[in-house]
């Protein structure tokens, strides 16, 4: 028999005691609050004497997961798998540069990343079966192909679900930048959807009241009175909506000191300059600040890689934002001793065709594309897989399935990828259907 905590229902209340154990129906209000709080990923308990996540470093620090999402599908050739001097690479305008990993070269568009590459490993043989943006984004964010009757949780949601941290008062799963297909909680519940910051650096969207303290206090007092009218004759039912609990939790968040993590303007000018003035660069800087506060999962999105025409131009343009920001991020995490506790993944929904089309672009290519993976104690400086330099063979050498990639990430974060949960449609489902990549563990 499964432990009730492994059951996830179609309702967000499934984690609460009254669904699985009716005998606790008369639990005291305090119990309810506690359960409601933990189900919301928040605690109303006073933080203990334990050090806040923000102060811990190295192995001692709870692990986090950071994805840099290259939306639209970055070309492997114009990033981490350049094939210089070949028909597919050189003819497209790519040259290659040396990196801090011996014998590994990347596209010339990334001189700063090249200096920090030893912090991560390069995978050049990812394979997937999805060549459409929406379906492939789903696949690359969840490790599963889309299904009509079930929504799989994104890896970030699984991590947040499995590793809640009571000491973090701000959202524990944050998506920075305007991701076209933001990571979702899927069958784990809406509360595991990523909290979206569309304009990073905007001081945490919606996290400040719109009026002064006295008016805010009056509004809240009013709300209490109006809510009571609705609770009359249906208080248990209204309680179950968790409406008030989400408001209380939101208010707690609004008054948290940790909110300052969203404000990169506190950073020294030199640091800000290193990340770049782009919105993506600011997103990466905010991501680092959130990691310092102990936020569990973060996605920073950079769109615009869908280069069906003028591929080199599009990728050169994107690299202007990505190169300084990613390099600064890796360097900064390492210098602050945060890399040991943060799994970093740089990935998009697919790669791009080895052949250049008549418009000078590259089209979608879900076989043999690249990603960077490192941090969190994973092996670094490794090169995995290889693609055919002629571009004729579709299948890369030592192909790596997306599911294997995520099994690796989950295992490294201390989560059993094979753990099964019962989905709302009654079907048991593993967090990942893949096997961890031994070379990286």
């Amino acid at each position: 028999m499964r432990h009730p905590s492994e059951l996830v229902g179609r309702t967000d209340l499934s984690a609460l005691p009254f669904n699985s154990r009716p005998s606790t129906l008369n639990a005291s209000r305090r119990d309810f609050l506690r359960f409601a709080a933990s189900s919301l990923g928040l605690s109303f308990a006073v933080p203990g004497l334990e050090l806040r996540a923000a102060e811990r470093r190295g192995h001692d620090r709870p692990k986090s997961f950071l994805t840099v999402w290259l939306g639209g599908g970055a070309s492997q050739l114009e990033t981490w798998d350049p094939h210089p001097g070949t028909k597919i690479g050189g003819d497209g305008g790519v040259t290659a540069i040396k990196t801090t990993i011996p014998d590994v070269q990347i596209a010339h568009l990334y001189p700063h990343v090249a200096e920090q590459l030893h912090h991560v490993s390069v995978i050049r043989s990812l394979v997937s079966k999805e060549g459409d943006h929406e379906r492939a984004s789903y696949m690359l964010k969840t490790g599963y192909r889309p299904e009509p009757t079930l929504v799989h949780p994104s890896i970030g949601a699984i991590v947040t679900h499995e590793l809640p941290d009571d000491r973090v008062e701000i959202p524990q799963f944050v998506s920075l930048g305007d991701s076209n297909f933001p990571p979702r909680g899927g069958f784990l519940g809406d509360r595991f959807d990523a909290y979206r910051i569309f304009n990073p650096g905007d001081n945490g969207q919606n996290l400040r009241p719109r009026v002064e303290d006295d008016r805010q206090a009056r509004r809240l007092k009013n709300l209490d009175v109006v809510s009571k009218s609705f609770q009359m004759h249906r208080s248990a039912k209204v309680e179950r909506t968790l409406h008030q609990h989400t408001i209380d939790a939101a208010l707690k968040m609004m008054s948290s000191n940790q909110l300052k993590a969203f404000d990169f303007k506190e950073e020294p000018a030199a640091v800000r300059a290193a990340y770049g003035e782009s919105q993506f660069g600011q997103g990466c800087l905010v991501a680092r600040r959130l990691l310092e506060e102990g936020v569990r999962s973060i996605e920073v999105a950079l769109n615009g890689f869908d280069s069906h025409a003028r591929n080199l131009e599009a990728h050169t343009n994107r690299a202007k934002d990505l190169d300084p920001a990613l390099a600064a991020l890796l360097k900064d995490l390492a210098e602050r001793d945060l890399l040991q506790s943060t799994v970093v993944l740089v990935i998009g929904e697919f790669g791009r065709t080895p052949a250049i089309n008549p418009a000078g672009g590259r089209d979608h290519w879900p076989t043999g594309f690249s990603c960077l993976l490192g941090g969190g104690g994973l092996a670094s400086g490794q090169l995995l897989g290889a693609t055919d330099p002629t571009g004729e063979k579709k299948q890369p050498e030592s192909p790596i399935e997306v599911a294997d990639l995520y099994a690796t990430v989950l295992k490294q974060l201390g989560i059993d990828p094979e753990k099964e949960v019962i989905t709302p449609i009654g079907r048991p489902m593993k967090y990942s259907a893949g096997k961890p990549i031994e070379r990286l563990m």
């Binding site: 179609r10 309702t11 967000d12 209340l13 669904n19 009716p22 129906l25 919301l40 928040l42 999805e130 060549g131 459409d132 929406e134 379906r135 889309p146 299904e147 009509p148 009757t149 959202p171 979702r184 809406d190 509360r191 959807d193 909290y195 979206r196 569309f198 969207q205 919606n206 400040r208 009241p209 719109r210 008016r215 509004r219 009013n222 709300l223 009175v225 109006v226 809510s227 009571k228 009218s229 609705f230 609770q231 004759h233 249906r234 208080s235 248990a236 039912k237 209204v238 179950r240 909506t241 968790l242 409406h243 989400t246 408001i247 939790a249 939101a250 968040m253 609004m254 979608h364 709302p424």
Partner: protein, 565 residues
């Protein structure tokens, strides 16, 4: 700026604005401002379907030994119906008309009025479109959701029979722009190819209310679906081809699937031989041809027509009760916020022995069929039933004892989270005195259109499974309390209801009443008056404006505003 470049910049802009204004004014039409005279399309005799439905529910409550909730008051019913049929709360304009209406059968007549309003067709089309074409963005080149919405909306507005609509979705040919129903087919396109498996699964889920999807890969573990049945259904779509004239059928095309055994055979060949196979030869060696077929009652298939027209006739065949049971459960779900049986598209098989009058889906389903698959009649029937008109207050809802079991008996109207579209629709309407409909100024309608898109994006779309249970989340609470929308929709300007109520209400009492009416469709309680009236007393100008803004903010954030009840 040189005159030439000025012309270059301004002229196109003028053209765009002009076209937009012309289209907007053309789209405005006068509809249903007069109350319908006939009280209802439903006969009130002892044997009417509403009477039977009420009897069925009464038997259910008797059997369970539970007293149902009292009847909800008529303002609550109007709010419920507006949210369900128009996706918004009643406007002040409508509320005044409603309160002035003293003729008998007010709710029945107003149900008809709401159904005749174009807002019903447009809103319901969007709800149903999620079922027919999914919530994914789809492939822009082959799929046009806006055209599909417009087609379905017009069809609902014209009261076209539902079975006819389904047949046209399954079987019609043409371009997704000119023949919008074919978007049902093209919505499944992956990488330019129509996905037959997706079509088979969606046909059964959307139109028959059952799930056959997992039989794509294996026999269903507990239902009767077999892999062969799934493949046969997919093969019914196997002759589709996409050409410059759109979706077509090619009678010579066969449908084949990859076969595990053939794959194993191939694996036994020497590697060199395998590598030398062309893509076509490889497919020949690993695929087997599947003939079109249906999982049950093949005698319902007509002998003539394309495979798709045959399938369409089979799906909608008068004896195929799964078809009507599915839409009844779906419409029930849209009206109550929760389907009669959950999940909405995983219904048990109907009785082979015929309709069961004690089964709600059979009862409403056979009436639906007997009256030409009339969607508006189905909605009016449910709206007229006692169970739809119950209050959401109940002793069990208060104490929480046996709540789950008691809720199964439908003894009170369920409290369910409003959809994001309903929430922003309600905020937009509450912040405006006049009704926002197709007769509104185009600026107003454009505002609603873009506000809805942005709000849903930030709030989180519910995806395909919009009838599943959802509780609120913290980011949603933050968005309601502090978001740009909440700020704009509670701002006292000369054009908003907030600004106008503050200035024009004759006294504080009336001012508070109006705030409550436009937001919550009710008047304030004694406790609420005690709390809120002092905040208005003696306030003028900006101070009064702020006080009204605070009240609107309060009401928008109340559970009563955010939850259907």
């Amino acid at each position: 700026m040189r005159p030439r470049s000025l012309t270059k910049t301004v002229l196109p802009l003028l053209v765009i604005v002009g076209v937009f204004a012309l289209v907007a004014s053309a789209a405005r039409s006068r509809v249903a401002t007069v109350l319908p005279e006939s009280p209802s399309r439903l006969a009130g005799d002892a044997d009417s379907v509403v009477t039977k439905l009420d009897r069925l529910m009464a038997d259910k409550w008797n059997e369970a030994g539970i007293e149902p909730a009292r009847a909800a008051d008529e303002l609550t019913l109007l709010r419920r119906l507006s949210l369900v049929l128009h996706g918004t709360v009643p406007s002040l304009e409508e509320l005044r008309l409603f309160e002035a209406d003293t003729q008998p059968q007010r709710i029945e007549r107003w149900t008809e009025k709401l159904l005749a309003d174009r807002r019903f067709a447009d809103y319901f089309a969007r709800r149903l479109a999620r079922v027919f074409v999914g919530a994914d963005e789809g492939q822009f080149i082959l799929f046009r959701r806006d055209r599909f919405w417009a087609w379905l909306g017009q069809a609902l507005h014209d009261s076209r029979p539902y079975d006819e609509l389904v047949r046209s979705m399954i079987s019609h040919k043409g371009l997704w722009t000119g023949v919008p129903e074919v978007n049902f087919i093209t919505a499944t396109a992956d990488d330019g190819d129509i996905n037959m498996n997706k079509l088979a699964g969606r046909t059964v889920r959307a139109f028959l209310g059952q799930r056959i999807d997992c039989a794509q890969c294996h026999n269903h573990p507990f239902a009767d679906w077999k892999q062969g049945q799934f493949e046969g259904l997919a093969a019914c779509y196997g002759q589709i081809k996409i050409s410059p004239v759109g979706v077509e059928d090619d009678a010579n095309k066969t449908y084949s699937v990859e076969d595990l055994k053939l794959l194993e055979e191939l694996a036994k060949l020497p590697e060199k031989e395998r590598d030398e196979l062309s893509d076509e030869d490889r497919k020949k060696k690993t695929h087997r041809v599947v003939a079109p077929g249906v999982p049950f009652h093949p005698e319902w298939l007509p002998s003539e027509g394309t495979e798709r027209t045959k399938l369409a006739a089979w799906v909608t065949h008068p004896d195929n009760s799964r078809f009507d049971r599915a839409i009844v459960n779906r419409v029930w779900g849209l009206m109550f916020g929760k389907p009669w049986l959950e999940p909405v598209d995983d219904l048990p098989n109907p009785k082979e022995t015929g309709r069961d009058s004690a089964d709600l889906l059979d009862l409403l389903g056979s009436d639906f069929r007997a009256h030409g698959c009339d969607m508006k009649r189905l909605i009016a029937t449910i709206a007229a039933s006692r169970v739809f008109r119950l209050s959401s207050e109940h002793a069990a809802f208060e104490t929480g004892e046996n709540l789950d079991a008691i809720e199964q008996q439908w003894v009170a109207f369920p409290v369910t989270r409003l959809r994001p579209e309903q929430l922003i629709g309600a905020m937009l309407q509450a912040s405006t005195i006049k009704t926002i409909d197709q007769n509104s100024h185009w600026v107003q309608r454009a505002l609603r259109f873009f506000n809805e898109i942005n709000f849903v994006k930030e709030f989180g779309d519910l995806g395909d499974d919009e009838l599943g249970e959802h509780s609120g989340t913290i980011p949603q609470a933050l968005l309601r309390m502090n978001g740009e929308f909440a700020k704009d929709r509670s701002e006292g300007t000369p054009f908003s209801s907030i600004g106008r109520i503050g200035v024009m209400a004759p006294n504080d009492d009336a001012c508070l009443d109006l705030c409550f009416m436009v937001c919550l469709t009710r008047r304030p309680t004694v406790e609420e008056r005690l709390q809120l009236l002092p905040q208005l007393e003696g306030k003028h100008g900006n101070a009064r404006g702020s006080a009204v803004e605070d009240i609107f903010w309060t009401l928008y954030n109340s559970p009563e505003f955010c939850w259907g009840h």
